[in-house]
């Protein structure tokens, strides 16, 4: 094939241009660490990376929800703990008050003490979360679930949350767990109220009956606390798995979109050598083909 000098120079210049383009692209990749910035860079990798990014973003939202759910459960657990403590204390007072040596005046003093405990238990049963929602109210979160007598007026529904991809778990416990709606259960706060009444009435048989009732109530609260603890454990496990998933997603996104620095640096060195060679050839051609040498 006939090759003209003009063609040789043009081809050489073309090679330099191509090498410079390659170097610019590789330099950009090495300096930024990113090889897939746009879908057109590598459509398959980009789409996969975006899907993983969406999963990661959703997972972060789920993490926040799990955190809120866990806070709610922690608040519930704290309230139940307080109620359990109150019940223990009230039982001790009931045992004390059931003593035959106690007189009406002694029981009247104890009545005041138990009434105070009742108030503490009621306040705990009507605990609210950071958003002002009553934690034991079921779906009626804007209304106090227990009235002044300790009677439950909320509903029994629970709130489920996503614990993972395709998995859900309860994040609330209704105050109905503190009522006789539970199989074999008692109305916990009214039981405390009845003790207050019995103490005020100096009614020893009723005080003695209240001891058994308080035992059952304490057991019932303990079971509720256990259930809440189980729910919290589920969310803790879910969150740990979620964090693990996010780490995995971050790694996967990086492998899809980020440059292998060693490969890129090697490529850059090779292309740099190619550019230097092209420039040398171009210089040699320019000298060789200059009119002065003809």
């Amino acid at each position: 094939m006939r090759i003209t000098a003009h063609h040789l120079l043009e081809r050489s210049a073309g090679h330099i241009g191509a090498a410079q383009t390659d170097i610019a692209k590789l330099s950009d990749q090495v300096s930024s660490g990113i090889k897939v910035r746009h879908a057109s860079d590598d459509p398959v990798a980009w789409i996969q990376a975006r899907r993983e990014q969406v999963r990661a973003a959703i997972s972060q939202g789920r993490g926040d929800a799990i955190g809120l759910g866990s806070d709610q459960l922690a608040e519930t657990e704290r309230a139940l703990g307080t109620i359990g403590g109150v019940l223990s204390e009230a039982r001790q007072i009931a045992v004390q008050a059931a003593n035959a040596n106690y007189v009406a005046g002694d029981r009247a003093k104890l009545e005041l003490q138990v009434a105070g405990l009742f108030s503490v238990a009621l306040a705990s049963a009507n605990s609210r979360n950071a958003a002002g929602e009553y934690v034991l109210a079921g779906a009626q979160g804007l209304v106090a679930p227990f009235d002044a007598a300790g009677v439950f007026v909320g509903d029994a529904s629970r709130r489920d949350l996503e614990a993972g991809e395709g998995a859900s778990a309860s994040a609330t416990l209704s105050g109905s767990a503190l009522t006789s709606a539970v199989a074999g259960g008692v109305d916990v706060l009214p039981a405390l109220g009845r003790l207050v009444t019995a103490l005020g009435a100096n009614d020893v048989p009723s005080i003695q009956a209240a001891i058994d009732e308080l035992d059952a109530a304490h057991e019932q609260v303990s079971q509720a606390r256990g259930e809440v603890g189980s729910m919290m454990a589920v969310f803790q496990d879910a969150d740990a798995f979620r964090v693990e998933l996010e780490h995995s997603l971050v790694g996967r996104i990086a492998s899809l979109t980020e440059v292998d620095i060693i490969d890129a640096a090697t490529d850059l060195a090779q292309r740099t050598q190619a550019l230097e060679a092209s420039q040398a050839v171009n210089g040699r051609l320019a000298t060789l083909l200059s009119p002065g040498r003809r």
Binding site: S40, V54, Q60, E133, A139
Partner: protein, 455 residues
């Protein structure tokens, strides 16, 4: 005596032929960097030597050319023009859709994340506000992208207008060159015509053929004739009220024909493919995504209740059809004014219920987009992914067409390109020939002088 005079004539003709050779070589050297120039050659023809004196005669300079190669170059220019127009337009659109601000798929994910947070605490006003803000952000993002696509299509439309005007000017130039070539056989005119034909191919595709009368005829893919001999029709970009964009018409006298969809190859077809194909598809996909999002979310939202226990209200302003949905999508103003209307609870349940939020969240994993084939997130990703894939393919096609074009350019250069070394050799060769003829003339002149002196 008469023979000597004939020898003088031979010498003069020989000297003239060598001078022509010098002139052609010099002309070639002078045009070494002229775009489209084909090196020329001088065709020396020996005269018959009978009865005694022969000699040489130079024919008109001719150029090194290959009609088949020129035709292939035009075809390649058409392919390169088409791909070369599409690739940057697609890359630009991709950048407009995905390069600026938060992406649509990220905004979709943010909406799901917002609803997920609300599901954990439905009565929290801050979380409700954030979820509604995420929905608004998504709607705004879609409207911005719809505007970006419309702007990209408008830009392509403007380029189409420019290309048609340019193509008409080149067609007229071709017709003028056809006329000049029939009058004057200067090879430079053919070079100019080849160059103009290649530029026309790069602009509008089609095919050029040199008729037996030496005139180039340019035919569009649908058979419409743009250039025929010394007559040129024109291409006009006429506004089409039905689409809001220009259609391309072949105009010849009173005849006017829409050739928009029949153009193949060339920048014009590339721009039309982008405007009416890729960008239009992206706009339709975005509209469909907005419509699918609105209808699916609203259906769930209306079935559930807000904090006030009322159900049947939309989250997005309802849309009648997919067309224009991405521009029209908006969060229901009443919901923005009163976040309690966000339906996070099941109908009939209390405000602390989160089944409405969970039902909305369940849409995340349901194939409610693209005719029930994709999730909303996947559809949002696919919208940009498809454009990226097309841009990637167009870039690859541009690279491929460039390689072919370069290869054909190499072949053309091998045949028609000027090589200075070669021209310098020719110059020396003809210079030597001219010197020889000068010496020959001097010898004959001497002989004639001697003869005349002896008379």
């Amino acid at each position: 005596m008469s023979d000597l005079l004939s020898l003088l004539g031979l010498g003069a003709a020989g000297l003239s032929a060598q001078h022509t050779g010098v002139a052609v070589a010099s002309n070639n050297a002078a045009n070494v960097n002229t775009l489209g120039y084909s090196r020329q050659r001088v065709d020396l023809r020996a005269e018959l030597a009978a009865p005694l004196v022969g000699g040489v005669r130079s024919l008109a300079p001719d150029r090194y050319q290959d009609l088949m190669l020129a035709s292939r170059e035009r075809d390649a220019a058409g392919s390169l023009g088409s791909a070369g127009a599409q690739a940057p337009a697609l890359l630009d659109l991709e950048a407009r859709i995905d390069g600026a601000g938060e992406s649509i798929d990220a905004r979709v994910a943010a909406l799901w994340a917002g609803l997920e947070r609300v599901s954990a605490m439905p009565t929290d006003s801050l979380l409700r506000d954030a979820a509604i803000a995420a929905a608004k952000n998504l709607a705004d993002g879609m409207a911005e992208r719809a505007a970006a696509i419309a702007a990209a299509r408008a830009d392509a439309d403007a380029r189409i207008r420019d290309h048609t005007a340019q193509a008409s000017a080149i067609a007229q130039e071709l017709a003028t060159l056809n006329t000049q070539i029939t009058i004057d056989g200067d090879p430079v005119l053919r070079d100019r015509r080849d160059l103009a034909a290649k530029q026309l191919a790069e602009l509008i595709g089609g095919s050029g053929r040199v008729d037996p009368d030496g005139r180039l005829r340019w035919v569009l893919p649908d058979g419409g004739v743009l250039v025929d001999g010394n007559h040129a029709a024109s291409l006009e970009a006429t506004p089409d009220p039905a689409t809001g964009f220009r259609r391309v018409e072949l105009v010849d006298g009173r005849s006017r024909r829409d050739v928009t969809t029949s153009l193949v190859g060339g920048r014009l077809a590339g721009e039309i493919t982008f405007r009416d194909g890729d960008a239009a598809t992206a706009a339709a996909d975005l509209d469909q995504l907005a419509f699918d999002l609105t209808t699916s979310v609203n259906a769930v939202h209306q079935a559930n209740a807000g904090l006030d226990g009322v159900s049947g209200r939309p989250l997005f302003t309802p849309l009648a059809a997919a067309a224009g949905a991405a521009t029209a999508i908006a969060v229901d103003p009443a919901l923005i004014a009163d976040p309690d209307r966000l339906a996070t609870a099941a109908a009939g349940a209390g405000p602390g219920d989160n089944r409405g939020a969970l039902a909305l969240l369940a849409l995340r994993d349901q194939r409610v987009a693209s005719g029930g084939t994709q999730t909303l997130s996947d559809a949002a990703i696919d919208l940009v992914g498809s454009l990226g894939r097309r841009a990637h393919d167009a870039q690859a096609e541009t690279d491929r067409a460039t390689i072919i074009s370069d290869h054909l350019g190499d072949l053309r250069d091998a045949l028609s390109g000027v090589d200075l070394d070669e021209e310098m050799s020719n110059l020396v060769k003809f210079q030597h020939g001219a010197e020889a003829m000068t010496r020959f003339l001097s010898t004959v002149d001497g002989m004639l002088g001697d003869l005349l002196n002896r008379l």
